[in-house]
């Protein structure tokens, strides 16, 4: 090939200039229109989410007192919901600096939410509570249940994960025949009554047999589905008729029978994973000809089921408001909803997802503790960032041990992309606030203090995971070195008047992000661009 001559190079430069400087027709109006359409398109799948989230922010974020978290959330709000929402949030926040730690315990939040639901809907008397723990009689679960039961003055049922597991084809008990205990708490007596719910995967005969075996017990549930795993492949939306056919059961046998029947009309709040909610609601609906509308009333924000399947919000027989579903466990939200509705489900915002995780954490502190979390972390909203960050670190650590190099590379690329995208979002604050939120996290999680090596400050962050859990087994230390190049970061810290205890972590996370950002050769995310953006942030009069 002929080598490139100076003339070639010159011509190419001219060509580039020509394309960049050539005027094109005015198209600002079009740009605005497309952007609006883009927002609408994004919002279509998330409208319920965003609306509820806005409401929730207005109501619930008054107490956030950690400035970094406030800024972080405000930044995210700007990106996802626009400046007015963020401004409103900040304005509200400035008027109230009480910490949730002092004001409300998580269970109180939950209880309050449920109470509000009861208050708004006369006649609802029961709460069915789903937890991932099979051992529903643990002290922890019991105390949680008692707490909520006492505060809501309602009956409260706890179903173990396996109970719902059969409804997930990936659930733990899909291929098994099991009986599971269900714990019922009485609001009046605070006593716990054990009853048995029989879940049988095989056929009518075995269900009948199991039922007979359990005849001496307080049977509060009976369900049978033949080979649900295979069935679900072809019938993602559970069909009662097909169920009856497959299980050779008549509708009465298939019904959700209880020794002390739960009137579906009174089964007001079902706290469960969305897929469970969907299936069980269809089941109950078909049996009782009532609508079971999964409307989330929680201030904690997980309403993904209602988004994914708008039909659920359609009144049936005019009894739309008689039942409500409160979906709490968000871990399965994405995949099960996608599977169940055959529609890609998107969760709207990072914050919301984190709150979904927080929801989970509130109820599953034990489980999460086993996975490396400190239960103490789950008592404040700022913890969403803790969860987020610890997840991120954990994921990285897990990958290092259990995943293929390709997996690790893929994750790291995603992680990089995440930061890049946050950084390059339109408002500018976002990137900084993301860092700020993270810095608060690190400050609380690790109490990072630097050591001095020459002209460098070295920050070490140690991660420890539970060795009993092979997926989480990891102990590692990450070091971040900061030198004179970080004057910019110093300015950021001074500008935002970080408490001394957090400054080190601001350095750490910001510099880490800077390094991550500048690792990429893509000029779009260049170090220069980053610095320019940071300067804009610093000079932003709003701060």
């Amino acid at each position: 090939m002929k080598p490139i001559t100076p003339q070639h190079s010159s011509f190419e430069e001219q060509l580039t200039r020509a394309f960049h400087e050539q005027s094109v027709p005015e198209h600002k109006a079009h740009r605005r229109a497309v952007f609006q359409r883009l927002q609408e398109a994004v919002a279509v799948e998330h409208i319920s989410y965003s609306e509820r989230f806005r409401h929730w922010v207005r109501r619930r974020f008054l107490w956030v007192s950690v400035s970094a978290s406030t800024l972080a959330l405000a930044g995210i709000l700007v990106v996802f919901f626009g400046a007015p929402v963020a401004e409103q949030y900040i304005a509200q926040r400035q008027g109230n600096t009480n910490s949730i730690l002092d004001a409300l315990a998580p269970q109180e939040l939950l209880a309050e939410s449920i109470q509000n639901t009861f208050a708004a809907n006369d006649g609802i008397r029961h709460v069915m509570f789903h937890t991932v723990r099979e051992d529903v009689n643990t002290d922890k679960t019991t105390s949680e249940a008692k707490e909520v039961t006492a505060r809501t003055d309602q009956e409260y049922y706890i179903a173990p994960d396996a109970f719902t597991g059969f409804l997930h084809k990936t659930g733990p008990s899909v291929q098994q025949e099991k009986s599971y205990r269900m714990t019922k708490l009485s609001a009046d007596t605070q006593s716990i009554e054990n009853c048995v719910i029989n879940i049988n995967m095989k056929n009518a005969q075995s269900i009948k047999s199991a039922n007979a075996e359990l005849s001496g017990e307080n049977v509060c549930g009976l369900m049978g589905i033949e080979d649900y795993a295979g069935f679900a492949e072809t019938q993602p939306a559970l069909d009662i008729q097909d169920l009856s056919y497959n299980t050779d059961l008549d509708s009465e046998q298939m019904s959700f029978t209880t020794a002390e029947p739960i009137d579906p009309k009174q089964l007001g709040i079902l706290i469960a994973e969305p897929s469970f909610v969907k299936y069980i609601s269809e089941f109950i609906d078909a049996q009782n000809n009532i609508a079971f509308a999964p409307i989330a009333l929680s201030p904690l924000g997980n309403v993904s089921g209602a988004i994914a399947d708008p039909e659920w919000n359609v009144p049936v027989n005019g009894r739309y408001k008689q039942s409500f579903v409160y979906m709490l466990d968000g871990r399965y939200a994405h995949d099960t909803l996608t599977e169940a509705t055959q529609t890609p489900v998107r969760i709207f915002s990072e914050v919301q997802l984190q709150f979904v995780q927080l929801n989970t954490a509130l109820l599953e502190a034990t489980t999460l503790q086993e996975n490396g979390y400190d239960p103490k972390l789950f008592s404040a909203a700022s913890q969403v960032f803790q969860i987020k960050f610890s997840d991120e670190w954990k994921l990285e650590s897990v990958n290092a041990l259990t995943q293929t190099p390709e997996d690790i590379a893929q994750f790291n690329a995603r992680r990089l992309a995440t930061r890049k995208e946050i950084f390059t979002n339109n408002s500018g604050e976002t990137f900084f606030n993301y860092i700020a939120g993270g810095s608060a996290v690190f400050a609380q999680l690790h109490d990072v203090k630097p050591r001095v090596e020459g002209n460098e400050y070295v920050y070490s962050v140690q991660q420890e995971w539970n060795p009993d859990n092979p997926d989480m087994h990891m102990i590692g230390t990450t070091e971040v070195r900061v030198d004179s190049q970080t004057q910019l970061l110093t300015a950021i810290i001074e500008r935002y008047d970080y408490p001394e205890t957090q400054q080190a972590t601001v350095y750490t996370t910001t510099f880490d992000a800077l390094k991550t950002t500048t690792d990429n050769t893509d000029t779009f995310f260049s170090e220069k661009a980053w610095k320019e953006r940071a300067k804009e942030i610093i000079n932003d009069s709003r701060y």
Binding site: F11, A18, Q22, V24, P25, L38, I347, D391, N426
Partner: protein
Amino acid sequence: MSFTEYVRSDTHTLMSTALLLTLFEQEYESVYRFIYFRVSHKETAEDLVSVIFEKAVKHIDRFSKQEGATPRSWLFTIARNTLIDHYRSQKYIEPLDDHTDLTDESHDALLSDIDTQIVMEKVFEVIPQLSPRGQELILLRFQADFSNKEISQITGLHEKVVASGISKAIRRLQQLIIESKQQPSIEESLL
């Protein structure tokens, strides 16, 4: 789905929205210009740009599955495919490949005659005379500032094919500009 898997998918999902907004913020102008320079018609360009971003919203989940693709190259892949669909719908007849009769020597000699001003003035007159592939490669390279590797990802062409295609298109463009310069303008003809 394990907790770890959830977090992983979670990260991807939540960033999809951010990615879209970021892409729009950063790339709308570039995409618009890329399209406009191909279709040379304001309304058509606007329609196509709308379609491109609608496709981006619809297919954002596919982005992560494109190995090695950057958000930008992914978006321009959509832009390119949208253009192809547009031309197909218009029953556009593809011209012959970019052909140049110039030898290397005569080409280099003529190059010295091309000054910046001429390029600026003439390039938009003659670029429609390039083949669609030539136009596409020139725009991706010089208007959208993609590297050959990125253009290879966007177009599906081998990187070497991209390099030679750009080289050929440049030479053809230079030839066209020179020919254009040698032809008297209408005003000059009247004198």
